[in-house]
Amino acid sequence: MKTNAQITAQRRLPAPPTVSTRLTLRDRLGAWRVRWGIGRMRYTVEPGLYAVGTPNDASPVLVSANYKLTFDSLRRELSGVDCWLLILDTKGINVWCAAGKGTFGTRELVARIEKTRLARYVSHKTLILPQLGASGVSAHEIKKQTGFTVTYGPVRAEDIKAFLAAGSKANPKMRAVRFNLWDRLVLTPMELVPTTKVSLMVFGALFLLNLFAKRPFGLYDFLAYAVAVLIGTVLAPLLLPILPGKSFAFKGWFIGALGTAGIAWACGWFAPPDLLLGIGYMLALPAHAAYLAMNFTGSSTYTSPSGVLKEMKIALPFILPALAAGIILILIKAFI
């Protein structure tokens, strides 16, 4: 039973905004835009407490990040569920990356619980956090500082309903991070888009060189370069598990070498008088693809920093000299 004073206090609590579990066309277009890197760092929702359905003081509290892509993919899974959403200020970063940076972290969660006066909205003491938030949040610290018990929910929002229905129990499948073809495909635009700046500089340099070159760079040179970039940023990530080797750089180099060799062979660059060009491209372009594929380690879900460091220490002493030597040969061929 609540005392009159408690009821009056509860009445004075502002009602948190209610959010819909349906995504609009605008939400979907927004998701597409940020996947291509357009306004990606400004795609946020206001941190704080939200209501889904008609929650009461016994309803579960789900904690998430204020990246709108994250927020949307959570709420769309909550149709027919009455719950609270406690949105942390992760500066518009998804849960896992924010946990790695510490913004989805113990300190922010403690502060947000106090700021939203969560304890006055719910009578229980349980928070459900996405499992991947665990690398930023210390459950026993939260308990010590706020009295709330952290329960780690499933990795993916799509499992949240089943998790709740099972009495807040996750099965091993809900606990495992996956990285299937689709998971990798949606990441590739953000691999490709950041390379355009470098590519434009390369094209600018080639344009200037063409003013003086004996053998000007043409469509096939452009094609060879574009294919190498696409291989490093799109094809290598897509084919990741079936490419040979464990190191991302080797996987990128391998498929980059196949692609470059195909184009060089078709263009007749493996025979005089263009042999120098063929060798130059075979040195430079697979090395470039290797470097780009190596950068996909940051987007992958299973590479350790120790592993990436080891891979880089082995790969870079090959990549950088190969790039340099290749560029020199290509330039020699252009001018003599």
């Binding site: 780690y152 495992a176 940051g298 350790s304 460091l309």
Partner: protein, 98 residues
């Protein structure tokens, strides 16, 4: 298909005598590195560890240790130039991380 990365690199350590068998490490681990036997955690698949640090951070008895960080080449390269700890760029010019 299960992805496997480089072997024998993870810095994950477990001091079995400190383990109280709560099982939280197995719960938070995204790659099923731990098994729980007779209320003691065991590292069953160390090569699957991505050093995210979730287990160590949530271990109430500090039985686990790991040099946690981001497994991101762009972040590591950036850290060589800035001299800071590698963190995910996650900004408009910060490569493809997250």
């Amino acid at each position: 298909m299960k992805h496997r990365y480089l072997k024998n690199v993870s810095t994950l350590t477990l001091q079995a005598e400190k383990c109280i068998g709560c099982g939280l490490c197995a719960e938070v681990c995204p790659h099923n590195v731990f098994t729980l036997n007779e209320r003691k955690a065991r590292i069953a698949d160390k090569d699957a560890c991505m050093e995210c640090g979730a287990c160590a951070l949530n271990c109430p008895s500090q039985a686990l240790g790991v040099h946690a960080g981001v497994g991101c080449a762009a972040a590591i390269i950036q850290s060589w130039f800035t001299g800071k700890e590698p963190t995910c760029g996650c900004s408009d010019d910060g490569g493809g991380c997250c």
